[in-house]
Amino acid sequence: MRATWMHSIRGKLTAIIMLTSAAAMLLACALFVAQHIIDERHQLDMELQSFGRLIAAHSDAALTFNDRKAAEETLSALRAKPSFLAGRIYTDRGVPFATYSNGTSVAMPGVPRTDGIIRRDGRVEIFLPITRDGERIGTVYIVSDQQDLRNRLKTDAQSTAIILLVCLFAAFILSSRLQRSISGPVVELARVAGLVSRNKSFSVRAIHTGGDGDDEIDNLMMGFNSMLAELEQRDQKLVLYQTQLETTVAQRTAELTLANEELLAAKNAAEKAATINAKLARESALILNSATDGIFGVDLDGEPSFLNPAGAHMLGRALDELRGASIHTLIHHSDASGAPLPEKDCPLGLAMLRGEPYAIADDTFWRPDGTSFPTEYSATPMLDEDGNKAGAVLIFRDVTERRAIERLKSEFVSTVSHELRTPLTSIRGALGLLSSGLLGPIAEKGQRMLEIAVTNTDRLVRLINDILDLERIESGKVELTRGSVDAQAVMDQTREGLQSMADQAGVRIVTEPAAGSLWGDSDRIIQTLTNLLGNAIKFSPPDTTVTLSGTAGATDFTFCVADEGRGVPEDKLASIFQRFSQVDASDSRNRGGSGLGLAICQSIVTAHGGRIWAEKNDPAGSRFQFTIPLAVPSSVDASTIESIESATTEGQDSTAHLVLVVEDDADLARVMTAALENHGIRTFHATTGGEAIHLSRLHAPSLIVLDLGLPDIDGFAVVGSLRESATLGHIPLLVYSALDVGSADQSRLRLGPTEFLTKSRCSMAEFERRVLSLLATVPDRNKDEQNAA
């Protein structure tokens, strides 16, 4: 176990220095002592030899003269050195001649040995020759102990040890002082390191005490300090970062808390909304699922997005089975008779694709198994909150049963009317013959009865006719044969038909002159007028006047039948057009009406797109009025039409396309028509909406160029009116307007292929290009010509 001090660098350094010094000094001392011993021995040898030679020199005479005494005296000189223990002189024959001893018992050799020094038993012996004239005459022998040498060595050792101790002490003192220059910094470093580790602070620095050197220790210290400085700096930065981090964390925590609260609030709101939504969704699903109509939705790309169970059941397909092919190919490929329908211009496909409101009352949908069902459907655009188109929804209904019922009803009405008519024919004929008196005279009362029977038979026949008529008009079985109808002509015809009846009743008919070309079915218009005028005559007392008049408005012509009779009570003015509705229950009997006349009138007028109403006449009686659309709007003067006639017929290729330019700016219209005529296109021009409608109907152009801002009715009304026409509803249209047309408005402005140009942003060349590209979609001009005729 090492001593504690060995743990300190000081102890170690001191020990190292001391050990090193001690080892060096011991080695030096040992060498010194060895050298000393060698010197002493050498000196002793020299002394022995000197003394030997001296004795040999002094004893030759004694030997020569065999003077023992002298020899012994010579030997006694050895007394001078106490270390010389004994001496002897031998003769040349080796016989001892003289002997000296200092008293110490020494065994001296009997005969001399070889010359030289011999060390034996801690003693030194020497044999030296005694010569005379170069001739050996004897031998000298001296023996000496080494006590002297030993004593001197002992003294030497003692002094050496003292010197050693003194030196070591000095070395210790020096090392103690000098080792500080090394251990001091290290200890300082250790101290500082200890402080750093204890206090966890890098602010302490090692103090440089030892000199101003540039050695490794200094470097170490400087390095250590700079490392501490660096660490301190980093520590400070770290603290700074930590502080910042804490601030940031606190900030973030606050934000997070806030966000969390918001999130919580939002979550609550969302949950509430989700609950409401779920409720709504359940209700929607319930509605969709319980609806007996098929409901089918597509997104903006025309992709199916939902289909309710009723729809899936009717179509025999699930929603997924409606994907991958056009709706037309899947369910609308053939008509009711099984003949294939072209996909082009398929109203169903267009309605779904464009999302325009569209309703079809009579069509056929097909199932995958090859069966079909008659259907009526409507397509409606789905708009999101901002009014943007989000898709379309198709609502359809299987009308098989309804069709069957309608057919039954129609057949029933038709059969009944025929079956009733047959016996009535016999009755009416028999009664007619009887009452005529041709079969023989009849009593006056009998005659009266027969006349009543004839009148009522006629009434019954009219009733049957009216029922049949009404049924056919309302079921849409009667197609109106529309054409241009002269208002004055139908009024005159009506008057002619009823003149005799009026004469019988003593009622005057006054027809006011009227001008107007109507768009309608002349027979049906006359039927309506006859009905109204007939009623007026029936309900007029004699000597009163019934007036038939008409006035042309902007787009409609209004007929008016006025009488001076008892009038219609105000509370009946609206309900009078209902079936079998008469002011007085006795009227039908007294006046011979069927009770269906006004209902038929209303059906006819409605089918024409007009309206019918009754009002009080001034001062007495009633006024029945109804409207029929005008074929020639009153705003068009005759000269315009004539100029068109010439423009469209004169010297032009009659198969060239005919374009109607609707533009109220005459100069711009001239530029546009001129540009188109350069392409060999025939043009004509309308300056008002009414004119545009009229001229379109008259000439059936291949394309209409339409300005939206027109003096009378705007472009929307023009398009709306043209849509009703079978021939004009699908012709190409170029809307050429001053302002951009929004997408919602665009859908209201479509006829056939429709494009939109903004005047300010479109060159004349672009205009021409658009017109030509739209005309390229028009297949056959001849067909249009026929329609125009």
């Binding site: 025929h418 047959t422 024919t425 028999a430 005529s436």
Partner: protein, 123 residues
């Protein structure tokens, strides 16, 4: 001038009778009648009347079929339909078959002869 001979073809005996009486009394014409299309055709062939009043809806051979058979036999006697079908579409269709006129049922017995004369341009 000998009296006109009129053939009435109708499945209803009552109507035959009313028509015959009416035409006899008002016009003094000779009226013969048949119960259906087949009998009527034979009678028309054998008697060669001046005009035929032909009912449209009859159970065995209806009016248009009877008219076709008559036309196939080369009979050019003017035919007038007597019908309860009064719709304009029906009238148009019948006229295209080649009848000279259409009289609706019920007819007025006092003016029936007059209507026929007008249709056939008899003075």
């Amino acid at each position: 001038m000998p009296p006109k001979q009129i053939l009435v073809i109708d499945d209803e005996n009552d109507i035959q009778e009313v028509a015959r009486l009416s035409l006899q009394l008002t016009e003094n014409w000779i009226v013969m009648s048949a119960n259906g299309g087949a009998a009527g055709t034979l009678l028309a062939l054998s008697e060669a009347p001046d005009a035929i009043l032909l009912d449209v809806m009859m159970p065995d051979m209806d009016g248009p079929n009877t008219l076709r058979v008559l036309q196939q036999q080369g009979i050019t006697i003017p035919v007038i339909f007597l019908t309860a079908k009064v719709q304009p579409a029906d009238r148009q269709k019948f006229m295209q078959l080649g009848v000279r006129g259409i009289i609706s049922k019920p007819f007025d017995p006092l003016t029936l002869g007059q209507q026929i004369r007008e249709m056939l341009a008899w003075e």
